[in-house]
Amino acid sequence: MKISRRDFIKVSSLGAVATSLGTLAKQSFTQVVPGERDLPYTQQWVSTICLMCPGGCGVLVRTINGRAVKIDGNPLHPVNTGKVCPKANAALQVLYDPDRLTGPMVQKGERGSDGWETISWDEAIQLVAERLADIRVNPGPQAMAFMSGRVRGQMGGLIDRFLAAYGSPNHIRHDSLSIDGERIGNELTIGHREQLAYDWDNCNYVLSFGRAFLEASRPTVRQIRGFSAMRRDRPNRRAKFVQIDTRFSITAAKADEWVPIRTGTDGALALGIAHILIAEQLYDRRFVSEHTHGFEDWTDENGVAHEGFRSMVLREYHPVQVESITGVSADTIIRLAREFANAQPGVACGGRGAVMQTNGVFNWMAIQALNALVGSIEVPGGALVQNRPPYTPWPDLPADTVADAGLAMARFDGAGTREYPLAHSVYQDLPERMLAGEPYPLGALFIYYTNPLFSSPDVNRFYEAIQKVPFVVSFSPFLDDSSAYADLILPDHSFLERLQDDEIEPSLGYAVLGLRQPVVAPLFDTRDTGDVLIQIARAMGGSMEAAFPWSDFSQVIQNRLSGLWAFESGSIRATEFSHFWEELISQSVWSDPPYAFGQWGRVFNTPSGKFEFFSQKLFAQLDKLRGEQAWGEWLAELGIDASGDMAFMPHYEPPRYIGRESEYPFFLNTYKLMTHAEGRGANTPWLQEKLGMHVKKSWDAWVEINPEVAERLGIEDDDWVWIESPIGKIKLRAVLYPGARPDTLNIPFEQGHKHYGRWAKERGENPNWVVASESDQLSGIAAWFSTRVKIYKA
């Protein structure tokens, strides 16, 4: 792909930024190895957006004679303000990974074998276009499914458009493996299917329920900055940070207090705290009365009486009851509640630990209920709703009957149906459906920025299932676990070679958009997937071609971002779009501070226009799908224990587990490290070499076990052990870790790739081989923590 000269940064504007970072005084330093180092070199600092994780940090990449040598933070980007995490510099090793794919590859041998041959882009695109055209005719466009994972900027919309124009309802995003629980919980309570932003800098108290605040919850650099600010940036005011976590993580270590909680019971703890807030009149009465719905008993428009949140909590969640559920003492619950209320503004937040459970959505709602009770929503120091950049809308799609017919078919993954009423994607359910050919067999599978044969629970099933799909295409720049089983690989650029916009994850509250641009010319014959999708559409002709009236993806981005220019507000303003675009390329970020607090109408996008303790949206959605079935039966079918009004309010659902306690005595906690890059970092030696600093482990995987429990089982430090679940077993080194609960084993997620380059391959174990695929029926989220295991010496 040709990069136009405009797309390259001019040294002058960024040079000023770069030199302000510190003089690059080159002292006369004895050179041991002569050569290039003695010659004058051409240096540029190119700004772009990192993608080792979706934190979206702005970075400045130093290039010497056209090669990238260092990655520093971009001081202009408000998420990270010039700072980076350890993963940033490992991006150099992603770019220069010796095992990267050099161009399109087609599998000539058996799936998964070494029979790869190179193929030209033209041939490859033609191949895909033809195949897709065939499928569209027979059996129909719905038979094409597109799995996407780390989608940034306009790529999501582009893929949606591609599928909509084609006629497939099956854009399967990976969010059911990840953050959907939070989003759905927010949709039910405040009407926004998004994560929340937080005003950490003004916060005085953080109740973190299983949020890997300092390690993996995004954007991590922003949170680390916020943590540091909360500790020491305000004279005489040091925030208290409480980490409620099933494991002593780094966040727990740096927190003021670690509350070791039994896995899956965060909702109960939150409600126990809520109980005290209510019982002791510690809640913000004004906020609750003005901005919440369903706190007191109420009657709906049909005259039906409903119990309020207040009376339900007071009845059901006394700290003594909560203590027996969570293992957290009643005294602690009472104390936390009082501290939380008295240290406002304070925030209750949660993360994967609380949410990726069979009761995850309700856990999240319970956590948000705390914010509602203390009035910590849409105020300084509290939870905020992220503003989004004002994109120019996508143009309408051309009408097409084939597409319409396809889109009318049921989604392949059952999202939004009676099976998973609230889900938009149910990624982890694909294998069973692919194997059964239900609701219909798939004809083609596209895999973009996701690695189902690594990241799925019960990953073995995916290995079986993928064989059922006749045509698999991957866009991965690497021969990873999934692309190794593809028929065709159309490698994307690595993110340092790519032009792509990057809207930040909800965090700062005000709209921020980053722009990723190539820092070096592409090393290989790779192509931006955005361009490739447009080219495939073009090659297909007809309505597909008509749906993509842009020459390339860069045009798409510019078109969509023209809305930001037209907005005439924010950090970049220009009379001409071309100047706006140049400035955006130069700075790599556009933002529109400050966050305007108190926009109640925008923030509470619910039927009542308020925070809903009783989720009317949930009620309506379930009612719609209920048909004639009795509520009790319907709720039971969804795996919901609660009945009556309670089922639509934040409440505690006992989590479901795979495996009987008598046989599998331990909970399995798979956790994320700061040095892990969503499984993508395993091919970077720098991250591998410092992977498990807290247990002095590197280049390996391990399982953390409580030392007393280990002693009882005769397991010593560094012993080989088997971790076995009802679906499989893996062998790992044991680490005796005092921060492990006696009832829980902890395995970090990152290792155990079967492919993905020389440093990732066959290293350690992937816990997904023992994690069963269990979902929350209501929301379709993968319950990562539902698998019970046993451990024994190998």
């Binding site: 041991v32 990270n80 002593f248 030696p685 070499e689 410092k690």
Partner: protein, 209 residues
């Protein structure tokens, strides 16, 4: 002439290791690989020391980022037979790679174990030599190396620049008004192994209120 010193606020540090990673990228410290790392040969000019101890549920984690201390009274300089290790006028303890005979006496003498040896010639996998920084020499086999406070890019060492917690400070200890001097006088300030008399120039600020 400034006399450089560093302050690391452990209440802001979150043990993310951004410092260690940035240092390696800046200073051409290649990776050792799995076998060599298991043999104890990996080089980290800046390393985060970690101890998690206690008994469940009373567990404590201590994480201390550890660059070279650039001691005012460096035991390493005292024992180097050839003056390959020396202290410059700005107080930095540096290494003359071309003079080092690899006897490793300085490594043995350093109580902080901040010194590293090139047990073999550093390797860059094919193509990875492209991200080498031309401002920093590549060290050959058989010589000692360690943190230089990024003498080639003062006054902001790479570790300090990266730190997302804004936990690291650097400056002139001889200027009583500099940030590092003020922080070094803080009641929270301490240094590692202070009673050995090495006079390290890296100060830490205690965690907690």
């Amino acid at each position: 002439m400034p006399h450089w010193g560093m302050v690391i606020d452990l209440d802001r540090c979150v043990a993310c290791q951004a410092c260690s990673a940035a240092c390696r990228a800046e200073n051409n410290v290649s990776f050792a690989g799995p076998e060599e790392t298991a043999l104890g040969r990996a080089i980290y000019w800046q390393e985060v020391l970690a101890e998690v101890d206690g008994e469940y549920p009373n567990v404590r984690g201590t994480f201390i980022p550890r660059p070279c201390m650039h001691c005012e009274n460096p035991p390493c300089v005292r024992v180097c037979p050839v003056g390959a290790t020396y202290q410059n006028e700005e107080g930095l303890v540096l290494q003359r790679y071309e003079r080092c005979i690899g006897c490793r006496y300085c490594m043995v003498a350093c109580p902080y174990a901040v010194r590293y040896f090139n047990w073999r010639a550093p390797e860059w996998a094919e193509g990875m030599e492209r991200y080498q920084n031309p401002d920093v020499p590549i060290r050959p086999k058989g010589v000692v190396e360690k943190c230089t406070f990024c003498t080639h890019r003062l006054p902001v060492p790479a570790c300090n620049q990266a730190c997302p917690g804004n936990a690291r400070f650097f400056g002139d200890l001889e200027d009583p008004d500099s940030v590092v001097s003020q922080l070094a006088r803080s009641p929270r300030a301490f240094r590692l192994l202070e009673d050995l008399g090495t006079e390290p120039k890296v100060y830490y600020l205690r965690e907690g209120a």
